[in-house]
């Protein structure tokens, strides 16, 4: 292990992982030079101050997320924020951006095909059973044409950098990907904390995301020159409520809950102080099963009765379209290289992590024999729940995982343990700067003839040493991400 004084600290670069900041021969990577130079002027007290200042900004602005619990008072937490930004050079970013667009366009075509002719299944590219066994395939969407032909209007592709220095897509999120408000909040906070560094580096702006989002929403409105777009939230006790209200506020549209809406003659209205007002586009942040108690979960109070029939009558647009979940299933993920080639006619730009599908006999055999080398994931869980990382398991735990897989083969996939790249991160309490694992959630918008990728995205950081799971519900934090 080499020691360096890049931060007036002993920064210990990682030998087995890709370090975003220093190369394997311990030289600061060129795109981090300005940051390195600036940070060399700081001492421990400065870091403490930056950290406190950044926390205070979040605290005063009430930028919090809720942890599920029944005490509404004690449950709001600040999303941990690390003030050392992650930097992605513009040339690398250009290729990531192209890869994201390529991938999400392909997913959109895939969805259109699944809900129409199902050519890809007939051609035997993706196995039929995989799709028909998926709980996320919605039969009501068969033959329906969403406006502009768009299904996954908003996609959150998760990307990591492996020890080979290459970027890989870890997950596609095309239901209701969250986190973009933290990207904007992080940027805002860091501007206040490190203004000098900011003006020196001039990262690509992200401030216009809400405009781009509104533009996209308006582009898929069912015929009205002044469409009424709304954000539909499960309400203020949802963990992502801050984001829902932030997006509504920054787009200047209403934030509604299911109970604010009603459907009459297949048209959606909202209840206002001056009576009812028609709604054209709903950016919904509630999952398919809760959208409409008439069609899905009859116990749900989150949605609006009749919403789906208004949607299928073409009188309102739901963003994202219902039924997109069939495409971001982790078992479908394994076929992404083929899916891209099939619809776009190109090789994938962003790599896929090799994936073993426990539903298939050969793959299952390999997985059961090599659990210690693999990450086993349920195909239908989010938030990092239910993941087993092979090299951290005891013998008994391995047996348990083997049993779980055999009981429900379709439910699990396995991938080699990818080593997420590391990044210098301030460690609160120890007042040091140390390497921690990071990933990147990106945000891609597809509208009727509009497309946009937010430069950078949300860099999530696993604050616990050695931890690979970066989700906020599992103790992860985030960083501002600069494309320069």
């Amino acid at each position: 292990m080499e020691h360096n004084k890049f931060f007036n600290f002993e920064y210990q670069a990682s030998s087995e992982n890709y370090d975003e900041f220093v190369s394997s021969d311990n030289i600061v990577r060129a795109h981090y030079d300005p940051l390195s130079a600036q940070f060399a002027q700081y001492k421990t007290e400065h870091y403490q101050k930056f950290n406190e200042e950044a926390k205070l900004v979040f605290f005063n602005e009430g930028i919090t997320f809720a942890v599920y619990s029944d005490n509404p008072l004690g449950s709001e937490k600040i999303f941990p924020f690390d003030f050392i930004p992650r930097i992605i050079p513009a040339n690398e970013w250009n290729s990531i951006e192209k890869g994201i667009v390529q991938r999400n366009r392909a997913i959109n075509e895939f969805l259109k095909d699944l809900y129409h002719g199902k050519k890809i299944l007939k051609d035997g590219i993706v196995p039929k059973e995989l799709i028909y066994s998926s709980a996320n395939m919605l039969s009501v969407m068969e033959g329906f044409d969403p406006i502009g032909g768009i299904y996954n209007h908003i996609s959150g592709t998760d990307i990591i950098r492996h020890s080979d220095g290459e970027y890989y897509v870890l997950e596609d999120n095309v239901r209701c990907p969250s986190g973009v408000s933290y990207v904007l909040a992080n940027r805002n906070t860091l501007k206040k904390t490190l203004p000098k560094l900011f003006s020196k580096c001039q990262p690509q702006p992200i401030i216009n995301y809400p405009e781009k989002l509104l533009e996209m929403l308006q582009s898929v409105s069912p015929g009205n020159s002044h469409p009424n777009c709304v954000v539909l939230s499960p309400g203020m006790y949802n963990s992502a409520y801050f984001e829902h209200s932030f997006l509504a506020q920054s787009m200047g549209v209403e934030l509604v809950e299911g109970r604010d809406l009603f459907v009459k003659n297949d048209v959606v209205y909202m209840k206002t102080i001056h009576g009812s007002q028609r709604v054209h586009v709903i950016y919904r942040r509630i999952d398919d099963p809760f959208l409409d108690p008439l069609l899905f979960n009859p116990d749900s109070v989150l949605g609006t009765p009749g919403l789906m029939s208004a949607y299928l009558a073409g009188n309102v647009t739901l963003v994202n379209a219902p039924g997109t979940g069939v495409a971001d299933d982790k078992a479908v993920y394994a076929y992404m290289p083929e899916i891209i080639k099939y619809y776009v006619g190109e090789e994938q730009i962003l790599k896929n992590v090799p994936t073993y599908r426990c539903g298939e006999d050969d793959d299952l055999k390999y997985v059961l024999e090599n659990i210690e080398k693999l990450v086993v994931k349920p195909v239908d869980e989010s938030g990092g729940y239910g993941i087993s990382i092979g090299n951290t398991l005891s013998k008994e735990q391995i047996k348990e995982v083997q049993l779980q897989i055999q009981q429900n083969r379709r439910k699990y996939i396995a991938q080699p343990i990818m080593s997420l790249s590391v990044h210098p991160t301030y460690i609160e309490g120890e007042d040091t700067i140390d390497a921690r694992h990071i990933d990147l959630r990106t945000f891609c918008l597809l509208g009727k003839s509009t497309e946009y990728v937010l430069p950078g995205g949300l860099t999530r950081v696993a604050l616990k040493k050695g931890n690979l799971i970066v989700n906020s519900s599992q103790g992860g934090g985030s960083k501002d991400t600069w494309v320069i």
Partner: protein, 312 residues
């Protein structure tokens, strides 16, 4: 604007206004009792604080620390300062996309101030600091309200909550002080210095002491004081002025509709007009009845407003 959000904002205004009145009434009466002309003033004062807050305490729990705790930090007491700021912030959070960042931050900041306040020191030494800070932070919150919101329906609805609640609180303060004075023993009631002491506390609790003196240019008396806080249309802490603003704000939000006899606008206009043409002599003929009647009128306006514009 969504009806549900309108309801949130209306009550946010009411909760915030309650905080200010609780804080000021507590501060003024607590300190004025320290140099009161009679000995038993302290218990009288503590009872007065509870009455103003609408809260009772069991006799065996009645002591200074418990009373002060109950008014400010008792989450079980829905009228305590802490309960009100929790409710107000909750409502602000529910309308986060409607209100400005500045207004939200000022409310959020005060919320954290109350939640993190050292309650032990408040009960023993820091009552002034806590109540004074509360009053000042509420002033900031209202400043952000007026200075950073578009003066549209949302703003009008918050202001409706504030003015209705203020009118209710003024009446409540008068009612409480009236009972304080009534509870004095016969010879104390005749004692001019005790009476003027209570009157000064009433007026200071409504931040109207200096201004009424300037207005009347003579030593305060019951008649002048009541006239000032009930009927002076130019003084922002009078019931009449609050009701006038209520009618104005209702007119703003109902602009699209024509005035019907069963509307809240009609009702508020009628109540305002009636009060405007009352004299203080008529009122003081039977003050308790007047207070009761006007409190009920204010309740009616609030209920009708909710029913007409933002039913839950």
């Amino acid at each position: 604007m969504l009806s549900r959000i309108a309801n949130n904002l209306f009550w946010m205004g009411r909760y915030l206004e309650r905080i200010e009145h609780t804080a000021r009434y507590t501060k003024v009466n607590y300190f004025s009792a320290m140099d009161a002309p009679i000995v038993l003033q302290k218990d009288l004062m503590l009872h007065s604080l509870l009455k103003m807050n609408g809260k009772g305490l069991a006799i065996n729990e009645f002591n200074e620390q418990n009373v002060l705790q109950c008014l400010s930090f008792d989450k079980e007491n829905p009228s305590s300062i802490i309960s009100n700021i929790i409710f107000a912030r909750e409502n602000a959070r529910g309308a986060r996309d409607i209100i400005s960042t500045e207004l939200w931050e000022s409310i959020n900041k005060y919320y954290h101030f109350v939640l993190n306040y050292d309650q032990e020191s408040y009960r023993t030494t820091a009552l002034y600091d806590f109540t004074q800070n509360s009053i000042e932070q509420l002033t900031i919150i209202k400043g952000q309200m007026d200075g950073t919101l578009v003066h549209n329906d949302a703003w009008s609805i918050i202001k409706l909550g504030i003015y209705l609640e203020r009118a209710a609180q003024i009446l409540r303060a008068i009612h409480t002080k009236w009972e304080d004075i009534e509870s004095l023993k016969g010879n104390e009631k005749e004692n001019i210095s005790i009476l003027s002491h209570q009157l000064a506390a009433l007026m200071r609790g409504l931040e109207s002491f200096d201004m009424s003196r300037k207005h009347y240019r003579r030593p305060p008396n019951l008649h002048d004081s009541l006239e000032f806080i009930l009927l002076n249309d130019r003084f922002p802490r009078s019931v009449l002025s609050c009701l006038r603003k209520v009618t104005q704000q209702i007119h703003v939000i109902s602009a699209a509709k024509s005035l019907t006899k069963d509307s809240v606008e009609f009702l508020a206009n009628k109540i305002y007009a009636r009060l405007k043409h009352l004299t203080i002599e008529e009122i003081t003929e039977d003050l308790p009845t007047f207070i009761n009647k006007t409190q009920y009128d204010i309740y009616l306006i609030g209920a009708k407003l909710e029913e007409e514009y933002f039913p839950l």
